[in-house]
Amino acid sequence: MGLKLERQAAPVWVQPLLPVLAIVLTFGLTSVFVLLAGANPLRAYYHFLLEPLSSRVSLLEMLVKATPLLLTGIAVAFAFRGGFWNIGAEGQFLAGATAATAIGMSMHGMPALVAVPLMALGGFVAGMAWAFVPAVMKVELHADEVVTTLLLNTVALLCVSALLNGPWRDPISQWPQSPEIASTAILPKLVPRSRLHLGFLFAVFVVLVVGFILTQTTLGLRMRAVGLEPKAARFAGVRVERTLLVTALVSGGVAGFAGMVEVAGIHYRLIEAISGGHGYTGILVATLGNLSPLGVVLSALFVGLIDIGSQTVSRALGVPVYLGDVIQATLLLVTLAVLLLQNYRLSWRRGGAL
């Protein structure tokens, strides 16, 4: 007996069910760890998924957590659709956050209508710049972008830490953090007495715009053609190099913008943990959302829920809060595997090994 994969497209109605299947499988698999922590999985998952949804505070907090993930998720999805394997959203996020902080700190006395757009632009451009080197290296030198974008993540983190331990170190604080940005550069709250800020609407807007580009424009069509089959795209007259470059720059820009949103909306300054893996989680969000804009919205909200839920379950049952990380990672791997069923059919065969 053996498991056999056969190439066969799944019926259309199955497609939206696959992420749901992945979620169910994930919670099944990770219940082992809940049991190890001495808790009842069903109770744990109640605290994990349902309790946060039943309170206004945690619902709003879920949107706060989802805000940067919407942006890094759509940035990664956009790049992956266009055949640019951008593993560097983390570095681009940090570049954007750094540029936004630099601008925000010099905006004292400027009106918000000047400060906020400038910061947003700065974040976007810095993210683009951070993606520019790997993009050019891929297009001109055929250097593998997976490696270059990945390595630049660490370089970005080291640059942030050099700034925070050096020229930007806030003299008042003993922690490596920058001084605060100007008060007018801070994004206003959407709901009083919560952390939900204007950046959430920005993020939704950006997802809509990027989704529009991806699905409704000729640029999007060219991008997807390059992503599916560069040789065929070239044959059809698409300028593959230029398209790849645009894909990489937009993706980097959006990830950089995410960095700006976190600075201006949550922290009001640059800290080393400003990202804390939002760029990598963006890859999870994009994969879980099957690289579609709507999927990214849903999965960003769901991943935000897991973030909140892991805190609720930790408070309620004493399960270590890192259960959330385990669930997110398992979800990524399971989704990746389950999405195979879009194009393949699983069957059991006697005798034949895989």
Binding site: A37, M137, V146, L150, S161, A162, Y280, Y322, A329, L333
Partner: protein, 314 residues
Amino acid sequence: MDAPLVGFLVGLIAATLRVATPLLFATLGELYSERSGVLNLGIEGIMFLGAFAGFAAAARAEAAGWDAYLWIGLLVAALAGILMGLLMALLTVTLGLNQHVSGLGVTLLCTGLSLFGFRLVFGESAVLPRITPFATVNPLPGVPVLGTILDQHLLTYVAFSVLVPLGAWVLYRTHFGLNLRAVGENPEAADAAGIPVFRVRTIALTAGSALMAIGGAFLSLAQLGAFTPGIIAGRGWVCIALVIFARWDPVRALLGAVLFGGVFALQLRLQAQGVQLPYELLLALPYLITIAALAVAGRNAPYPGAYLKPYRRE
């Protein structure tokens, strides 16, 4: 040369070998995976899991009064690595899934599991749990200069004088090594020649992941005698760079590990001496060198032919 300078250099060389050891273990592990055609981005997490699993097992065994607790820790770390190698192989070889997303997923999983496991095993104690780490071996006790440089952990000796020659020999001089390179260059042709592509890749990934985990465990069991969340701090990504820098060759990997290890050791020692320098920029150097090397090598970078390409029998 004056005495302080000699002392500084001797200390630097000794530290370089120490710092290079985990890099060498993990780089060889990654090199084997990539030579078989699979990029294993799980490396950062697998090193972390190795450091945790090794430490947790050793701490428990030490508390139980077993003399060989460190070796038990090392064994458990290797087993954890093997387990993750099998998972990575299931994802990227058996199912043929996207290698970089799978690898990052494995890294996230290992990181989460280690932190989760640490809380389960050691609770939320404010005191960092510690063990008595591996002692160093010194073949020339009391001899100046050479005695200091050679005062290293057994695992350092293993990495430099056993693992690298053995790794090169297996890769270039054995039947298995030939098969490994064949499935990494052209899996279709290898398959047609009767080489079990899936099995060879699975073995490469599993053995490679075990080496990564041992590299991580070196940090917790030999260097620190403790486990901290920042114990790996990007060393896995350094090894990804090192493999490219070494052009997928075990002997050049040794040179690269010494060079990169030297940069880190220099940074640490300058910092210890209170020299005012932006250390972070020094730390970024290995990454920038690798990116520059990739830019220079360009199209001629000797990537394995089937790098990043899953193999499926259609």
